[in-house]
Symmetry: C2
Subunit: 352 residues, 2 copies
């Protein structure tokens, strides 16, 4: 059976500011020193999914940047440009429609373009199992991550019990106490947002559970391959209801299973994730670029071009980019969002 | 009697790094937003000392920079270029020799080029008194600063008692406990390094107390106005023993008096002095340039060109310049020197 890789790269999130910017969202950053996240996302799927069968769904504004970034990995017609951001259900529905109309049914794996995976071989092992499961059973397969600590920044998937692949429910980001209980129970996995299923199977779920979206997708699908394709997408796509695939389908469908993965996954959701990507020195400092530290502990010093010198400080994140210097306490990495809001309020959008 | 202003501008100190640099020492910085420190130093002497009677002694390496900075304030032949840095006794002896040989005896006031004075009128009042005292009495007059807090970064002058102008001794930078005792006694003043005396009077002190230096000055003086002047200075000046005027003369001379000043003086000796130059906001933050703070207290954020964003931090000094970002704890401003040493050791002198 055919296998397709769908990379969702429409994010314009600002939680990774100032490394990520509106004109260069996180998926286009090279944080590992090897390659840009979107490219790493594609490359680590091979050979479970063939290079020729990758698709990237992204905002039309990033279509050219995506093509340039992918540098030969992607055919231009494998970039699916969204005229507006309509959340993940729309994005996945668009990709499924494209596949069914133009390439033929097959198993599609859906991946965020801006996550990090340390053990890529381990990841491919789980992915191969997920693809085979989707081929064999018509299930909606999701890959859950074995929790390493009581994370409050991730949603969780509750299984029937330890070692089961039967999903009981999807749960919201918990508070610390709840997260601790989840960790201890052993039945919970982090929701990584990776899904594997047949295009025809997910389309049937759209029909059953999200009929409004299904109707839009039908209209788009009928125009595909005709002279009206582009115009139809431009007109219909922005009307698709905004809902995530988690809320719209995963929490309501019956045939959902989860495979457990433990391969060093991180959603790189805020700047403190840099600690996952780089090894700290003996003082707990992560120094990137031209950075130096004196009597300094547990700091992240990320120098983009200048010298970044830290003296007598602890638990800071310092990030220097082309036009911004951010200094924040390590426990406040989430507050970067508030800085971004301040800048927006003050009309300083050129810094976003 | 003639009055001369001697500005000592040879410093290449790095305690103000990264704002000060080897190629642009602190005296050439505009920290107040009004003018560069060396210019402010000259301007605030007027009219006690006439603009035409100002001299700047500086390292030959900074002679052109000084002339360009002074922008019409100085005649080129009023810049006395030292071929080598030989401490303050040499510097003052050179100026006194120049005055005696070329301009005629008079009262000379000596001032550091890189200090800050908030109440300039108050300063001129004390200076006028000092000049008259030097004219009338042949005393070595120094201006001491009424201590505002138990500073450990300044030397002190002990008077016979409160309100006396008779100097008992010059004392070194004290520890905090000693500084506290000095503050409480009322007899101690901060040593600001400002001196006022007749050129002929200080020259006589050189002859009595520092005969080696006196001999060098004599040799230089005899060449002044001849074709050999420049060559003689180049040859003799670097041989002058290195000693400060405080150690060499002030601590040993008999006719020393001190006038008390209380005009908001600060030697701008390290980055935390920025708190003297700028008014903090309601959270104790001093934000200069394009800087913003969120949930941040008692921080100095100095943005040179980029946006500097602070989030959830306290008691930090953050300075951003053309090629450096410094982040240090406010209590560790003195450690900037150690950073500079590290950079020197690592061969990164382009950052100095």
């Amino acid at each position: 059976m055919k296998r397709y890789g769908i990379i969702m790269a429409g994010g314009s999130g600002t939680r990774f500011w100032p490394l990520s910017r509106k004109r260069l969202p996180k998926q286009f950053l090279n944080l590992t020193g090897r390659d840009r996240l979107v490219n790493e996302t594609m490359d680590r799927l091979i050979p479970v999914i063939r290079k020729e069968d990758m698709f990237v769904v992204t905002n039309a504004a990033y279509a050219e940047l995506t093509l340039a970034t992918a540098a030969g990995r992607l055919q231009p017609d494998h970039i699916l440009a969204e005229p507006a951001a309509r959340n993940t259900a729309a994005c996945i529905g668009y990709a499924a429609t494209e596949i069914l109309q133009k390439y033929g049914d097959g198993v599609m794996g859906i991946f965020a373009s801006d996550h990090y995976i340390r053990d890529e071989a381990g990841f491919r092992g789980v992915l191969e199992r997920a693809v085979r499961e989707a081929e064999r059973t018509d299930a909606l397969v999701t890959i859950g991550i074995k929790p390493r600590f009581p994370a409050t920044g991730y949603g969780y998937i509750r299984r029937k019990d330890k070692d089961s692949s039967a999903v009981e429910e999807f749960v919201e980001k918990p508070d610390l106490e709840t997260a601790q209980a989840y960790l201890e129970s052993g039945a919970y996995l982090w929701n990584s947002g990776m899904f594997v299923w047949k295009a025809s199977v997910i389309m049937e779920q759209f029909r059953r559970l999200l009929p409004d979206i299904y109707d839009c997708l039908q209209e788009i699908g009928q125009a595909m391959g005709t002279a009206q394709e582009k115009e139809t997408i431009m007109r219909v796509y922005p009307q698709i209801p905004k809902i995530s695939v988690d809320y719209g389908i995963m929490e309501r469908a019956e045939n959902v299973i989860v495979l457990e993965g433990d391969f060093g996954w991180n959603d790189v959701g805020s700047l403190d994730a840099l600690e996952t990507l780089y090894a700290p020195d003996g003082n707990g400092n992560i120094l990137h670029g031209e950075a130096l530290a004196l009597d300094t502990k547990n700091c992240i010093g990320y120098a983009g071009g200048k010298l970044v010198a830290l003296a007598g400080v602890e638990n800071l994140i310092v990030v220097e980019t082309e036009d911004v210097v951010l200094v924040c306490d390590r426990s406040r990495a989430q507050d970067v969002k508030k800085i971004v809001d301040m800048l927006e309020t003050e009309g300083k959008e050129h810094y976003l």
